[in-house]
Amino acid sequence: MKDLIMITVPAAPKYLCLIRDVTVRLCVSGGLEEPVISTLKLAIDEACANIIKHAYKGDTGKKIRVQYRITKEAFEAVIEDSGKKVAPELLRGRDLDDVRPGGLGIHFIKRAFDVVAYDEKKKKGNRLKLIKYLKEE
């Protein structure tokens, strides 16, 4: 499957399940298997939740766009918003030994994807590029 698939949802927590469902279906149709599917689903969900929380600060009138491309070589997702620029420390997360609520999302994203990169050229909002390389059996 080389098609480019795009989904745009309002930036509200109740729509995160739609993004999860689409992610799983695309993974399955792309031939991916568990536990990889679950890690990708969680990572994309966390990235979108971060947008709601940090970029839009709960403004549900805004939109989140997720663009997927699955090839034999890679699963790619590009997640875009028009909110506040992400702070670099958000990409670090908390120390896993420091037990407290929050700061885990970025760890879930980084363990699922080989490439986690914000497009610094985007003038307004954020564009997060995620790539998971798929190994040939």
């Binding site: 927590p13 109740k14 995160l16 399940c17 999860r20 536990p35 679950s38 689903k41 969680l42 969900d45 966390e46 939740a49 709601i52 929380k53 896993l96 030994d97 037990v99 407290r100 609520p101 929050g102 700061g103 885990l104 999302g105 760890h107 879930f108 363990r111």
Partner: protein
Amino acid sequence: MDIEVTDYKGIKVITVKGDIDMYSSPALREELIGHSSMKVSVLLVDFNKVTYIDSSGIATFVEALKHMKTYGGRLRLFGLPVGVKEIFSFSKLDKVFEIFVDIEDAV
């Protein structure tokens, strides 16, 4: 997500069904903090029908655990599906929470 509260051998059991995510975790937080505010000595959470948990769900349990520890209460989780358990263990929280196989182990 659905939440059901029952009693088992005199202990409160919160059964959670479905996805615990950014949308549903505030309701779960309300339930957990509500019980810990009443200073219940032990609170069991049945995970058997939990289909998904994200970082906001994990954060909700961490917050409840910390709240209960302030008065010596015990939050015990049981019946974690493999995928959910793996998320706790990746987050190094399997060492922080009391996690049991089933309700009989947990009581």
